[in-house]
Amino acid sequence: MNAQVSLILKLAVLAVLACVPLTGESFYVEVVSKMLVMAIFAMSLDLLVGFTGLVSLGHAAYFGIAAYAAALLSPKYDAASLWFLFPASVGLAALAALVIGLFVLRTKGIYFIMVTLAFAQMAYFVFHDTPVGGGSDGIYLNVKPSAAIGGWEPFDLGNEHHQYYFILAILVLVYLFLARVLKSPFGRALVGIKSNEHRMQSMGYLTFRYKLGAFTLAGALGGVAGFLYAVMFGFVTPELLSWHESGNVLLMVILGGMGNLVGAAVGAFAFEGMRGVFEGWTEHWQLLMGSVIVAVVLFLPGGLSSLPGRLRRALQGGDDK
């Protein structure tokens, strides 16, 4: 019953999103495209923060590494094949997460937060201070990758609408993938680790391996978002890996509600939406943004995605408590 309502709601939102290009407004298509990319990014972090209990403050590293990989692996004046570039970029992000995970997952709590941040800063300075990625100026991805298979081209990422639907399709796939993973024995163990890692160990779970699996998976999916971002904007800078970005995506997850995939996506939309609106009002937009986030944390502990449940309970006459 409730599951049906939720499914209908999700399909309705999807239908609305699918209609965005029909407005014909290039501006909206671009804004919503970016929101979709950030929603993928936020969901990937939610796997760590919301489901495994690992608060990473360095998640932008994997986003940025995949974005740089997309730019660096593309020929300068020619289109790379999407079917090579996409997996290669995501694979590099996953590899980075695997290696970094081997180190950072030996720590817990506040130390984990600081060490993930430290590794992300290291990655940031690799791109910022060395010539590999054009230094602080960043690097261009001049030609968007081609989706051609043999002579057949199913879609063209140079076409704004094609690109939009491609990103939307990836978002849906990432969501379905994560929802499925969370139902698996692996996913259930992750939630167990979040709830009580010590108990999981005493029941014979080698929790380090599970956490490393989750960290790598989250890095890979963060890389999916980073790749799409690079393709969309055709330009990559070290700022993509900066701690601001890691903080922003964490705020998206908190804003939407941790431990809820749809919540993470909602948080990304809300965050990007607010940024757009507030930036239009004032140059001190960050002040407004911060206020809203503080308000949500204080008055909506479950994030925006807890709103429908709260409303329903309030309407039913507050018999909870």
Binding site: S184, S195, Q201, S202
Partner: protein
């Protein structure tokens, strides 16, 4: 006392010593756990019972001494590895997954026996073997009526039963139970004592317990610890009549009502 004729040594800890800096929490403690028997660790607060059970479960490495399980040296194994060879433990402070249902708590325990973490596309709720085992263990621990309850809202006694169901679901041969009766009412206690007697038939049990009535109702062997050392080890009658035990422990406690 025990109903079974299978008397098989499952676990042998020899001369366990644990130091915390200059403090010796356990000195030369030896414990044997046999199938079909309940071995009770008794002692006043600070006697080192928790340190001892922590060394047996792998939560704490011993400074000296060895632990063997079914003939294999397991001294160097972690808690997770010991769980995998067949040593299960419950904790003094209730240690469950309060946001999960009773079934999910025990299902996770059952899942631990065949983890397959790489199968990320199979559904946990379609692993019938784990569900069946979880339901059986919940039944065995006497929680059959609470299967779908959120474990966080169970009564204290029921949460202790749940802990035992979780240990059972890991196929543990040796149960290390740290004060399973703590904080229970008399009715709940009596049920737990019955449960322990039932479980003894096919497993070896080490029990840390304060409740004297319960201790003498279930114990086959009692080890009395004082100041981190073993004072005496033997059947309940021997402990009851031991002058040393009465002087060192029972005489100083406020109540010894047997």
């Amino acid at each position: 006392m025990s109903q079974t004729n299978k008397s098989e040594v499952l676990m042998v800890a020899k001369d366990l010593t644990r130091r915390f800096g200059g403090l010796v929490a356990n000195r030369d403690v030896s414990v044997t756990i046999e199938r079909g028997k309940i071995h009770v660790l008794l002692g006043p607060n600070g006697a080192g019972k928790s340190t001892c059970i922590n060394m047996l479960s792998g939560d704490l490495p011993p400074s000296e001494g060895t632990i063997h399980f079914m003939g294999r040296d397991i001294t160097g194994l972690t808690a997770a590895q010991r769980s995998r060879v067949g040593i299960g433990r419950s904790y003094q402070r209730t240690n469950i997954f309060p946001q999960f249902t009773v079934l999910e708590n025990v299902r996770l325990a059952a899942q631990s026996r065949n983890q397959q973490p790489w199968r990320i596309f199979s559904k946990a709720m379609e692993q019938e073997w784990a569900l069946e085992k979880a339901r059986a263990c919940i039944e065995e621990a006497g929680l059959g009526k609470r299967v779908d309850w959120l474990s966080g809202v169970l009564s204290h006694g029921e949460q202790r039963q749940l802990e035992i169901a979780m240990v059972l679901a890991t196929d543990a041969q040796v149960l290390l139970l740290d004060e399973p009766l703590a904080g229970m009412g008399s009715e709940e206690s009596a049920k737990m004592v019955e449960l322990l007697k039932r479980l003894r038939a096919t497993r070896g049990i080490l029990l840390v317990e304060h409740d004297m009535d319960a201790v003498f109702a279930v114990a086959d062997v009692i080890t009395v610890m004082v100041n981190g050392e073993m004072l005496e080890c033997g059947p309940p009658e021997q402990i009851k009549n031991s002058v040393a035990v009465q002087q060192a422990y029972l005489g100083t406690e406020e109540s010894f009502h047997v």
